[in-house]
């Protein structure tokens, strides 16, 4: 949680492009289904928490998260960078490549390490439910060589505004 708050504190933009309709800072409430390495039909764990991002340029964002796992009690956080690899002007679908440093209260389950990730985000109902995002993320721990897969539901919180 401290990591996430620090990320938010650092995300204040120095100068915003005058014609931008996007907000640099956004915060999301989130639920995850999580798999560790093995492709079992049901998730290994369920998590609740939030994510935040500071969009600095069309392709580059700072990102962070904080989640609590219920099946295997664990409070974890992460912070890093993400590069949008698809159309930067499409607000309804994007794929991002990045890397985050992970910290957790359960090192056996979630080692503290750098983990590159690939994230897919999709706004399936941009008119009816513009704040709802479905997504998925694959991550790979560089030290543990453990793979993580996350199926994600996000709800954008209101105070940062919604562009459409």
């Amino acid at each position: 949680m401290k990591t996430l708050l620090l990320l938010i504190a650092l995300a204040t933009p120095a100068h915003a492009a005058p014609d931008s309709t996007a907000h640099a800072l956004a915060i999301f409430a989130g639920l995850n289904g999580l798999w560790y390495n093995t492709p079992t039909p049901l998730p290994s764990d369920f998590e609740a928490g939030g994510t935040a991002r500071a969009s600095l340029s069309p392709h580059l964002s700072l990102v962070g998260s904080s989640f609590y796992g219920f099946s295997h009690p664990c409070l974890r956080g992460s912070a890093g960078v993400r590069v949008t690899a698809t159309d930067v002007d499409n607000p309804d679908f994007a794929i991002g490549l990045g890397i985050q440093y992970q910290v957790s209260s359960n090192h056996a389950l979630r080692p503290q390490e750098w983990a590159p990730d690939v994230s897919l985000g999709w706004r399936p109902w941009p008119q009816k439910a513009p704040k709802v995002i479905l997504g998925a993320q694959g991550a790979y721990g560089l030290d543990s060589q453990q793979a993580y897969l996350t199926a994600a539901l996000r709800y954008r919180l209101d105070f940062t505004g919604v562009t459409r």
């Binding site: 933009p13 120095a14 100068h15 915003a16 492009a17 931008s20 996007a22 907000h23 640099a24 956004a26 989130g30 492709p39 039909p41 994510t51 991002r53 969009s55 600095l56 340029s57 069309p58 392709h59 580059l60 964002s61 993400r82 590069v83 949008t84 690899a85 698809t86 930067v88 002007d89 607000p91 309804d92 679908f93 994007a94 794929i95 991002g96 490549l97 990045g98 890397i99 983990a115 590159p116 990730d117 690939v118 994230s119 897919l120 985000g121 999709w122 995002i133 997504g135 998925a136 993320q137 694959g138 991550a139 790979y140 793979a147 897969l149 996350t150 994600a152 996000r154 954008r156 562009t163």
Partner: protein
């Protein structure tokens, strides 16, 4: 580790995501066309050519950021 190496390493994680999209398509036939579409887009993103091009773009944008010019965008993947 350079920026390009980071982006390439993310490709390892991309294999997990591709496998997940396949499983979604197999388990939920109604979503298969969407899952296949997303898989195709992910394949395109993870190519070496695509990542190299991305690296070049990022050099320009990093320069802008260091000069204090912030130009935000809405990316649903940033919230994941």
């Amino acid at each position: 580790m350079t920026l390009i190496h980071v982006l390439m390493a993310a490709g390892i994680a991309g294999d997990e995501l591709l496998a997940f999209l396949r499983r979604v398509g197999d388990a939920l036939p109604d979503l298969k066309p969407t899952a296949d579409d997303f898989s195709a887009r992910l394949h395109a993103v993870l190519s070496e050519e695509s990542i190299a091009k991305l690296g070049e773009t990022l050099k320009v944008e990093l320069g802008d950021i260091l000069r204090g010019r912030i130009d935000p965008r809405e990316h649903p993947s940033d919230g994941i």
